[in-house]
């Protein structure tokens, strides 16, 4: 089943870096995915996130406030 990957952040370099690494990780794992950049503050707050960037996988926030390395992201996607 296609995984829904959401990058929560308002578009700063760290948010973009997280998006880039997440896509890279998903491709390396060979998983089917769709990626969405959520930059609306109200929507970000609905996730309960108080620090960006954050990554949500199928609606569950896996990390907030930092950019993990690609190996960590792979574990979050697996």
């Amino acid at each position: 089943m296609k995984k829904k990957l959401q990058i929560l952040g308002t578009g700063c370099p760290k948010c973009m870096k997280l998006a880039e690494l997440t896509e890279e990780a998903a491709k390396e794992l060979g998983i089917e995915y769709e990626i969405e950049k959520v930059n609306d503050i109200k929507k970000i707050m609905e996730f309960g996130v108080m620090m960006t960037p954050a990554l949500a996988v199928d609606g569950e926030v896996k990390v907030a406030g930092r950019v993990p390395n690609i190996e960590e992201i792979k574990k979050m996607l697996a």
Binding site: G11, G48, G65
Partner: protein
């Protein structure tokens, strides 16, 4: 003013309080509110952690320094943190400061200030409380720093 630490874990202490149905729970809550109002800490929602809201748990995990306030030895706040598998926080129990637990909500300013002092000692690293044995977790930040468009979750302006 632009903040080059945009989107990284804040260096401000995050405080979560039990806020329970007794004087000591409400003293913990009041102390957390006052620390936030004074800009000394950021008051965060313990119920969100207890409710296993993934974004809230991930946010607390992303904080550099976390202070958890419990009213009494039942330690509901600590147990909520442990149940969410959040580690590396410091912990204060109001009754351990010599304040008796009663079902009375006429809070004493003197007792609130006593808890505030204990919190400040923790925040400033000068605490001598024996219960605060957890090491503060340092969260790695990586990636380029820079400014986003400000507001909301980021501290950019």
């Amino acid at each position: 003013m632009k903040n080059n630490n945009c989107c990284s874990a804040s260096s401000t202490t995050t405080v979560l309080a039990c806020s329970g149905g007794s004087n000591v729970g409400q003293i913990a809550n009041e102390a957390a509110k006052l620390l936030d109002t004074a800009g000394e800490a950021k008051f965060f929602c313990l119920a969100g952690v207890g409710g296993h809201i993934s974004g809230m748990i991930a946010s607390v995990e992303g904080c550099n320094k976390v202070l958890v306030l419990d009213g009494c030895p039942v330690a509901c706040a600590k147990k909520a943190m442990d149940a969410a598998n959040i580690k590396g926080y410091t912990h204060i129990t109001v009754t351990n400061l010599g304040i008796e637990k009663v079902h009375d909500f006429k809070l004493s300013d003197e007792q609130i200030n006593q808890v505030l002092s204990a919190c400040r000692a923790e925040i400033n690293g000068s605490s001598t409380l024996k219960e605060n044995s957890n090491e503060t977790k340092l969260v790695e930040t990586s990636g380029d720093s820079g400014s986003c468009r400000g507001g909301g979750c980021c501290s950019c302006e």
